[in-house]
């Protein structure tokens, strides 16, 4: 009989090791899945993890890693603050959409004027849009005690409908020959979020993600606010005793995560995506939840996890075109990763003992 025994203190070694073990376990389980789908598992895993980095066309894929990874890291950093404190913003996808809408909206409002202030204004609008959208569940939680998980999630569906409405209505390209979708911001110099170094994939979103990582690291390790976030997650009553105001903490964590998700949306719509359209959002807001956990809610961990998750996206695309691996298989693969991580996480706080069970 196997039983668990609580460790006197959390194991640091296991805390670092579980993400690695989880990735390895996912490779094995994923390989079995790919084999079941009739694909060569070794080849599939190699394509996903090796091809984008060191394969023949890696010069093309490496910048793509940055493009895919930046929004994931940016959103996950924001989410991790709340998750650490037990505040569950599950609606980053919605905040991402709204950030893109408000940011692009501001940019398009200036069209065709050219000015250096337009892009900063769009950045501000994107952050504010995401922030405001996240404030809805935050304020409802602090004022009425409404569950933020459900409200933030419902607002994703509302945001998707708004996106549809905007791309077919208000923001529709008047010169688009009736096709749905906005003007292409890539062709509007003042509003375009292009590569900072040509061909590197490093756009402003990537820069913002790096800044967010550093900001979160300092906040959590050196600042009282970060200490209060961690304290609230470990012992909410002790946090109140220490003098933390739960209301302000909810507003702060939800606000930061909303603003960062909004920024991610703005950088995406003004850069890689270019247009506001019905299929603009591709689930970064949800995948970022996996990234946040895989990175152990630690800023540096999230950076690495974001890179890994971007790898599976791009590797998955390659596997789709080269091996005919269905895109849904990659989604399952990412889901598995979170499963294994949560399962192995038990080893951080518990020791596994073999032997007679304690209570019969």
């Amino acid at each position: 009989m196997v039983r668990l025994e609580k460790r006197a203190e959390p194991s640091r070694a296991w805390s670092m090791a579980t993400p690695v073990v989880a990735v390895l376990a996912t490779m094995i389980a994923g390989g079995l899945l790919f084999a079941a789908l009739g694909k060569d598992p070794v080849e599939a895993i190699r394509t996903i993890f090796w091809e984008p980095l060191f394969g023949e066309f890696s010069f093309y894929y490496r910048p793509q890693l940055v493009v895919k990874g930046a929004p994931l890291v940016l959103i996950a950093i924001g989410l991790s603050l709340g998750f650490k404190a037990g505040i569950w913003n599950i609606g980053a996808e919605g905040q991402y959409i709204i950030g893109a809408l408000t940011g692009a909206g501001v940019g398009l409002a200036f069209y065709p004027m050219e000015s250096v202030v337009i892009f900063p204004l769009m950045v501000l609008a994107g952050a504010l849009g995401g922030w405001a959208w996240a404030m809805i569940p935050a304020v409802l939680k602090t004022r009425f005690g409404t569950n933020e998980i459900l409200v933030s999630l419902m607002l994703v569906y509302v945001a998707e409908q708004l996106l549809a409405s905007m791309s077919l209505g208000l923001l529709k390209n008047p010169e688009g020959y009736g096709f749905p979708g906005s003007r292409n911001l890539q062709q509007y110099a003042s509003a375009h979020n292009g590569d900072l170094i040509a061909g590197s994939g490093l756009h402003w979103g990537a820069a913002a993600a790096l800044i967010a990582v550093i900001f979160a690291y300092v906040l959590l390790n050196r600042h009282m606010t970060g200490f209060h976030i961690r304290l609230t997650g470990d012992a909410p009553r002790a946090a109140r005793f220490a003098g933390v105001s739960p209301t302000r903490l909810v507003l702060f964590c939800m606000g930061v995560s909303g603003a960062l998700a909004g920024l991610a949306g703005l950088f995406e719509v003004s850069g890689p995506a270019g247009v506001v359209s019905i299929d603009f959002n591709v689930g970064y807001g949800f995948t970022a939840i996996i990234v946040a956990f895989l990175g152990r809610l630690h800023p540096v961990g999230i950076l690495l996890a974001g890179a890994l998750m971007a790898l599976t996206y791009i590797g998955g695309d390659i596997a789709q075109s080269n091996l005919g691996l269905p895109s849904a298989a990659i989604q399952v693969f990412q889901g598995m990763l979170l499963f294994f991580l949560l399962a192995f996480d038990v080893l951080t706080n518990f020791r596994i003992r073999l032997g007679a069970s304690e209570v019969a």
């Binding site: 668990l4 419902m154 989604q331 949560l342």
Partner: protein, 306 residues
């Protein structure tokens, strides 16, 4: 705009159909939460049930087989949640999310070959004489079996929770798992059974969408119904009959907005389509002031230590 095309009798009859998926999922989750476990994976279990039921029905030609398969698939997926939360003692919120993300991917993978396929129709229970009655006939006596099954499930859940020893033990475990353990009850075993039941119910709810309500398979077709089911449990203050009421309210909103869309009301389609989600939020706000009826151990991790 032609509102006269909306037939109130049909509206009510259709409301009961629209409410059934969310009702099935909610009643399952209600039992899970009564045992002290918060499973946020309802959406994932529903969509898995939707494709499993759809596939089984198409392959076997029998909707009955499909529903059984859907319940089985939902319960099977919930086993993953059991492993994470009851054995690996993982955070229930994170585990539930994992279940939903995984279920969405898995269903998309399973459903690839079923896009655009039409499932065999599910027969209605035709009660002679009664179903021919005016007004009450179409509303009450002319539905498929699952509509009645959903109502019966509410009644059974209510009775079991209120009057039986099994129900009492379930409530006790959800109220204070340490005390239940001290009295010698198998907390983990009881919770596992509740979670499996919740999974099966969610699976049935999902299959109802893909087999009867729509009926066809598209990716992500549950579109948040699983999350609404979670909201419904809060709305219902963990009381079965109130879950039925809530489900009909939600069904009513859905049906009315669809009818308004069809009637060409001057409100853009997107705003009508977001109304069920907005109304869910409003209801949550109104009702979340009263949390006293929530099971006290809800979402807390149980570890039998010395």
């Amino acid at each position: 705009m032609d509102l006269s095309a909306i037939n109130p009798v049909q509206l009510i009859a259709f409301l009961m159909v629209a409410a059934t998926p969310v009702l099935l999922a909610a009643i399952g989750e209600l039992v899970v939460e009564k045992s002290g476990v918060l499973n946020l994976g309802v959406e994932g279990m529903m969509i898995t049930g939707a494709i499993a039921g759809f596939a089984a029905t198409v392959e076997s030609g029998s909707p009955a087989v499909g529903f059984v398969a859907a319940a089985f698939a939902g319960a099977l997926l919930s086993c993953l949640f059991v492993v994470l939360t009851q054995f690996a003692l993982a955070n229930q919120v994170a585990s539930g999310l994992a279940l939903t993300l995984f279920g969405l991917g898995l269903s998309a993978l399973m459903g690839q070959t079923y896009v655009g396929v039409k499932p065999p129709a599910t027969g209605k229970v035709d009660i002679p004489v009664l179903s021919d009655l005016p007004v009450v006939g179409p509303i009450l006596f002319n539905h498929d079996l699952m509509v009645y099954f959903g109502i019966a499930l509410v009644a059974a859940t209510w009775a079991v929770l209120k009057y039986t020893r099994a129900g009492l033990i379930l409530r006790a475990v959800g109220e204070n798992h340490d005390a239940a353990h001290a009295l010698g009850y198998k907390v983990v075993r009881i919770r596992i059974l509740a979670i499996l039941f919740g999974g099966a119910c969610a699976g049935l709810g999902g299959a109802y969408i893909s087999l009867i309500r729509v009926p066809q398979w598209t990716e992500g077709m549950t579109a948040g119904v699983g999350w609404i089911a979670l909201a419904l449990v809060v709305f219902a203050s963990w009381k079965p009959w109130r879950a039925l009421l809530g489900a009909y309210l939600f069904g009513g909103v859905t049906v009315v907005q669809l009818n308004l869309q069809a009637a060409g009301v001057a409100i853009p389609v997107e705003y009508l389509a977001m109304s069920p989600y907005l109304i869910t939020i409003v209801v949550l706000v109104i009702l979340s002031a009263d949390k006293s009826s929530a099971p006290a151990a809800l979402g807390r991790i149980f570890h039998a230590s010395r």
